[in-house]
Every structure is written in C-alpha cells, then in structure tokens.
C-alpha cells in the first residue's frame, strides 16, 4: 500500500507520454474487442440457437424441391415429435422492387408458434388465426413502411394467383419479432391455406416443414427417422436443426478465424514495440531517481516491482477502457445476429493480454532498474 503514491507519481512523471501510451493501448484493445468479441460472440449465438427445432427441407436444396403437403401426416407419425408445421416461402416486394418482402406462409393451427422462433402478442396471434387474409409483419418493416393494424397492403410477387394477378393483398393484424439466428427484417407471415388455394401452380407443396421435438437429446435420431420416410422417393428430405443451419451460415463467412488472428497479431506486435520502447526510455531517464530510491533503502526487488506494476496499471486501465468502447458495436451487430453480445471470456482474455503486454514490455527495463549500481548511476548526474 505504501508504494501506491510512488507508483502513481511514476505514472504521471511525464503525463504526455503516459496519456499517449494509454491511448495507443486503448485503441489496440478497441480493435481486439471488436474482432475477437464478434468472432466469439457469433459462436456463442450459434450455440444458443435451438437444437430442438428441426427444419425438413428437400435434400437437394432449399428453393425448388417443393415437398408434398402429404408428408405432413407421415412426419407426425414419427415418435417424439411435439409439433409439425408446413412452411411455404415466396418472395415479393412492396411498391418498388427494391423493397423486398419475404412471405412466410404458415398454418395457424393450435400452438403453431412452438415450432417457430417468432414472438407474437396473444391477441394478435388469435386475430391471425381468425382470418384467411390476415398477416403479421416484422416490427421493423411495419415501422419502415408505416403499416398499422387494419391496413391492407398489396405485395407484388412472381407467383400468379387465380385472379391472373401477381399482386397479393394482406390485412395486417399485428407485428412479430424473430429470435432466429439471423432473422430477416423484411418478413410477413401469411396463411398457408389462403395462399395455396389462390395460387395457380405448385399447389399442395411446401418449401419445408418445421418440427419441434419433445426431447432435444433425441433430435438427431428424430431427424434420421424423418429422412428415412422419403428415402428413394422423388422428394428425398434432409432434416437439420436450427443450430446446425446457423453453424453452416457461420462457415459460409469463411476465413474469419484467419483474418481475426492475423489482424490481432499485427496490432499486438506493433503495440508491443511501442510500449517496450517507451518503458525503456522512461527508466533510462529516471536512472538518477531510481538510484536515490536505492540509496535511501529500497531493495532491488522493490524497484523491480515498482517499474513492473507501473506498466501493468497503465496497460490494464487502457485495455479496460478500449474493451468498454468496443462493446458499443454490439447493439448494432445484434440486429443482424440475434443475442450477439460481448462475451465475458473475450474481456478476460483481453485483460490477460494487457498484463502480458505490460510484463513483456517492462521486463527488461525493470531488470535494468533492479540491477542499477547506485554509485555509477549517481555519478552520471
């Protein structure tokens, strides 16, 4: 404790230099926090994605292999399944082709939302199941286009309906939020039966089925059982959990690990040079003062730790500051990936790195200070 004032005055001996080192370290850790934090955070978000929610889609692809609706009853017969829901997807736009809206057609059966990642208010959920043309839109899209409950909105699609028109009209009865791994912001939930009966071609098919299983540990077995139903048929299926799909999405990003490691290493290498040089310089300038300290009875070890702790304090404070700043990007990133937040493990790693940085850059000057010979040091004055 008695050393605290001494360390403090050591830090502020040259305020300009300390502030610059502080800023340099802080900036480096902003970058570390953003890159490493996003990388680890995305992996955490994948791990948090639901493994008990399965998607049954065509084995070849997601887009064209429409599955027959008849598969619904077959999948229901598979044991350990809580709920099966058919889902049809089709693209559309509102007013201008740039304003894309993905139409998700579902059946508003009892408890249907259990097989989805959507959150809807109960009264709006009830309103959605009452009318065939009812629709729920994402809060984001409702706000952007100024849609209110009761509005009739026309969406233009590439699917013709029986009125020989490409325009589909929906009545908005509420809004929803999506907690899927990467929820699209422009989505509209519509009634499958209304859509299927009104369209001209491909009737009686769905894009995929959502399946909620009763026991998450049995999810893989259930998925295999579902895929066995259609083996060797013209519509073979592939069943994957939402978590597996999220994992694949992350792999699509590709060489992220390499990039993050390369940049972080370059930043830390450059930083190490800066801090090490400054510490060296600081000790050199302070040679007479350190000699005086030794003259009045400070041990070699005390001087060694004085220098070391000084560096650790500056680096930790700066790193904490930088990491705190880097958390500012997470609210923005969380709009794209649900639940993305600064992982505590990244903060811990960052602070540990800061200590290591201080120790490495202060080691040589601290040893030099400890070995200082009082007579020669004082003689240099």
């Amino acid at each position: 404790m008695k050393y605290l004032p001494l360390i403090w005055s050591g830090i502020w001996r040259k305020p300009g230099r300390t502030i610059l080192i502080f800023l340099q370290v802080a900036v480096a850790f902003v970058l570390f926090g953003v890159l490493q934090g996003l990388k680890t955070g995305i992996q955490h978000a994948v791990d948090a994605a639901r493994a008990d929610l399965l998607i049954v889609h065509g084995r070849q692809d997601f887009i064209f292999s429409g599955l027959p609706l008849g598969l619904l009853e077959q999948i229901r017969s598979v044991p350990r399944i809580k709920l099966v829901a058919p889902v049809e997807l089709f693209g559309s736009y509102y007013q201008k082709p740039e304003n894309g809206m993905l139409i998700v057609a579902v059946r508003p059966d009892r408890d249907w939302t259990d097989a989805f990642t959507f959150n809807v208010a109960p009264d709006q959920l009830a309103a959605f199941s009452r009318s065939r043309t009812a629709a729920l839109v994402t809060e984001f899209a409702a706000k952007k286009y100024g849609w209110k409950i009761g509005d009739h909105i026309p969406l233009v699609s590439q699917v013709a309906n029986k009125d020989r028109s490409m325009t589909w009209t929906f009545d908005i009865v509420g809004t929803f939020t999506d907690s899927d791994f990467t929820p699209g912001q422009y989505k509209i939930l519509a009634n499958y039966d209304y859509y299927d009966q009104a369209r001209v071609s491909n009737t009686g098919t769905v894009n995929h089925f959502n399946v909620a299983v009763t026991d998450v540990n049995q999810a893989v077995a259930v998925a295999d059982a579902i895929d066995r139903l259609s083996t060797n048929s013209s519509h073979e299926t592939k069943t994957e959990s939402i978590r597996e799909l999220a994992q694949q999405q992350v792999q699509q990003i590709g060489d992220l690990d390499f990039l993050v490691h390369a940049v972080v290493s370059a930043v830390l290498a450059a930083l190490l040079f800066g801090t090490a040089t400054m510490m060296m310089q600081s000790v050199r300038e302070r040679t007479p003062e350190l000699a005086v300290l030794k003259t009045i009875g400070f041990t070699d070890r005390a001087v060694f730790f004085l220098i070391l702790v000084e560096a650790v304090v500056v680096c930790i404070a700066a790193a904490a500051c930088g990491l705190a700043l880097s958390t500012l990007v997470f609210p923005f990133a969380a709009k794209i990936v649900t639940g993305l937040a600064m992982p505590p493990v990244t903060v811990a790693t960052g602070l540990a790195l800061a200590v290591a940085l201080a120790a490495v850059s202060a080691a040589i000057p601290a040893v030099r200070a400890a070995r200082l010979r009082v007579v020669t040091a004082l003689a240099e004055r």
């Binding site: 230099r17 610059l20 340099q24 480096a28 370059a266 040079f273 400054m278």
Partner: protein
C-alpha cells in the same frame, strides 16, 4: 533513439500491411467478377425479380424477345440469345467435406458460356438430353467428385462429368448443361434469365426502348457489366468498410505511438535544435525539418508493409461469404497504403514539431 525509430517503423509496417491486404480482397473480388464480362452482353430478367432465382421468363416471351432490334446474329441469321435456367447443385468441399450449394446452369446456347476467353481444357462438350455436364476447373480444385467421368446425382438422375473448362478470371465453381434437360427434370417451363449479345454495346438504348415498349414483355434489361457491378456492390462495400474500419483504428494507434516516439526524438535533440535556432534558422524551418523527418520515418514502413502484403497474400485464394476469389495486391493499393502512412507521419509529427519550434533557445542550450 533506435527504439523510437523502430516503434514508428513497426507501427507503420503493420498498419499498412493489414490495410493493403484487406483492401486486396475487395479489389480481387471485383477484378474477378468483372474480368470476364463482355460489354456487348445484356442480361434480361423478369420485372422486379430479386436475384435470378425468382425470375421466370416464359418461352413465348423468349420468342418475342429474339426479334428485338440491336441483337447480333450469327452467320445463319439466328439471333444470339441464350436462355438460362439455374437450379441449386450440391457440392462438398475438399478436405472439410462441408456442404455448399452453387448453381447448376442450363443454357440454351452453350456458345455463350464458352465465349473466349472461356474455353474447354479437357474432355468434350455435353450432348443435350443425355444428362451430361461440364464444370469449371475451379470445381475440381474446390470440391470432391468432379473429375472426368464422375457421376453426380440430382433429383434421382445420374449426371456424368464429360468436360472441364476455364472461365477466364473467375474462380467460381460453375456446372453447365443444356437448358431443356434441366427444365424437364425440374418441371420448369421458363428461364431465369436471358443473355443477349448486341451488335455493339451502344445498341443497348435501342434494344431497351423496344423491350420496354412491348407490353407483352414484362422484362427488364441491364448491360452485363452494370448487372455484375450491382451484384457486387453490397459485397464489395462490406469488404471495403471492414478494411477501412480496421485500417483506420490501427492507423490511429500507430500514430499515437509515432507521436510518443517523435517527442522523445525531439527531446533527445534539444541542444542540436537550439543550436540551429541560435545560428539563425527560424522556427518555421525547424517545424518543416521535424515534419519531414517524421514523414520520412513512416515511408520505409509503408514500403515494407505493402511489400509484405504482396509477398504474403498476393494471389492467395480465399472464400469469404461464399465467394471464391484471389487477393489482388495492385500498385494502386500500395499507393493507398503509402498515402495512408504519409498522413500518419504528418499528423504524428505535428505536435512534436511544434514543441521543437517553441523550445526556448537559452534553456535548451543549457540542457544536458
């Protein structure tokens, strides 16, 4: 002193190396996407279609479109128009076995797809109706099971790989066959896209006017280059944003380091600087000299950084966000990196130069 110089050098080197290599991704992606574009080609899709997959162009529309003005004709007088249909095709990455989808392209006129510089390198062309495919050499390198004679199953039908071809710049895996075979297998009655070759790029206006004037054709046309640029815009914007974001933060950090180093360089030289002032150099000259020194100190780091980026990453194949391309470290990027370093040197030198110029001559001369 040596330490201070080294700090500036290493800081600038790392910053420039990272900035240049990251920008090289954007340049590489663009270079590849636009390298194979022919200026006389036009892409046509259904009005308002979002990307190609939900665009549907009927055969009737195709017939009408063939007679529009401006379209080039071959020696038999046939208009050069190709209907394209694409469906997803599953592949497994070499090594990792990771599943990836890319389009299986059915073209009604294979000459379009194999227009030079694209050319067959191995095997032969597919024969229509026989479920034969040809693939780019990139497929063979990136995925399993694309060797000559390999069989791939799509919709319960076995397709045989009968040829390999090169696309020119592109590293994308493309699997090619004839449109009719794909359409009958997938019960499709229309194309996703039509590619048209004009007599000259300048004929686009006439072609587009005729297209828009025909009420039976609810189609929209774009020159191929514009279409590719639009497709790339978002991706390239993202890459460049990330590059400059990281590059800027690193530059700020390195500049702080440079300021600190220059301060100690100036401090160590107080007597020399004071002597200069004493023998008649003005403070302007001292500022200029310090700034020049700072900028010159940044320069070798910039050169080494750009050089390292080139040595380590030029031509390296990467595949972020499902795109595959090679990093391209161009002289232009090296220029950006060097400019970046000079700005760092300049800004880093400003405060120390001021201190050097403001130092009272008498006290500085007495300094040890």
């Amino acid at each position: 002193m040596r330490g201070s110089v080294l700090t500036i050098f290493v800081g600038v080197t790392c910053t420039v190396a990272v900035l240049v290599s990251m920008l090289a991704m954007g340049t590489g992606a663009r270079q590849q996407a636009e390298g194979d574009v022919h200026d006389d080609e036009v892409m046509v899709q259904a009005q308002g279609a979002q990307g190609g997959f939900d665009s549907n162009i009927s055969r009737d529309q195709m017939v009408t479109l063939r007679d529009l003005p401006g379209i080039d004709r071959d020696k038999d007088g046939e208009p050069r128009v190709a209907g394209i249909v694409f469906v997803p095709f599953e592949g497994h990455r070499r090594g990792t076995g990771r599943r990836v989808f890319f389009p299986l392209i059915g073209s009604s006129d294979v000459k379009f797809e194999l227009r030079p510089p694209a050319h067959l390198t191995e095997g032969r062309l597919f024969r229509p109706g026989l479920h034969e495919i040809i693939t780019t050499n990139a497929c063979v390198r990136q995925f399993d099971g694309f060797g000559l004679g390999a069989r791939r199953e799509v919709r319960g039908v076995n397709w045989t790989v009968v040829g390999h071809y090169d696309q020119g710049q592109s590293l994308e895996c493309v699997v090619l066959t004839d449109a009719e075979t794909v359409m009958s297998l997938f019960n499709r009655n229309g194309f996703n896209r039509i590619t048209v070759r004009l007599k000259a790029p300048s004929d686009f206006a006439a072609f587009n006017r005729a297209l828009e004037a025909n009420p039976a054709l609810k189609l929209e046309a774009k020159p191929a280059r514009e279409q590719v640029e639009a497709d790339m815009k978002q991706f390239k914007g993202l890459l460049n944003f990330v590059s400059y974001f990281i590059g800027s933060i690193m530059a700020i950090g390195a500049t702080f380091g440079a300021v600190n180093s220059l301060y100690s360089i100036v401090d160590a030289r107080r007597r020399e600087l004071a002597t200069l002032r004493a023998i008649g150099f003005g403070s302007g000259a001292v500022v200029a000299a310090t700034l020049a020194e700072s900028i010159l100190l940044a320069l070798p780091g910039a050169l080494l950084g750009a050089g390292l980026a080139w040595l380590l990453f030029h031509d390296m194949a990467v595949s972020p966000f499902g795109f595959s391309f090679r990093l391209d470290v161009t002289p232009r990027l090296a220029e950006i990196g060097i400019a970046w370093a000079l700005v760092m040197g300049f800004i880093g030198g400003l405060l120390p130069a001021q201190r050097a110029a403001r130092m009272p001559v008498t006290t500085a001369l007495r300094a040890t």
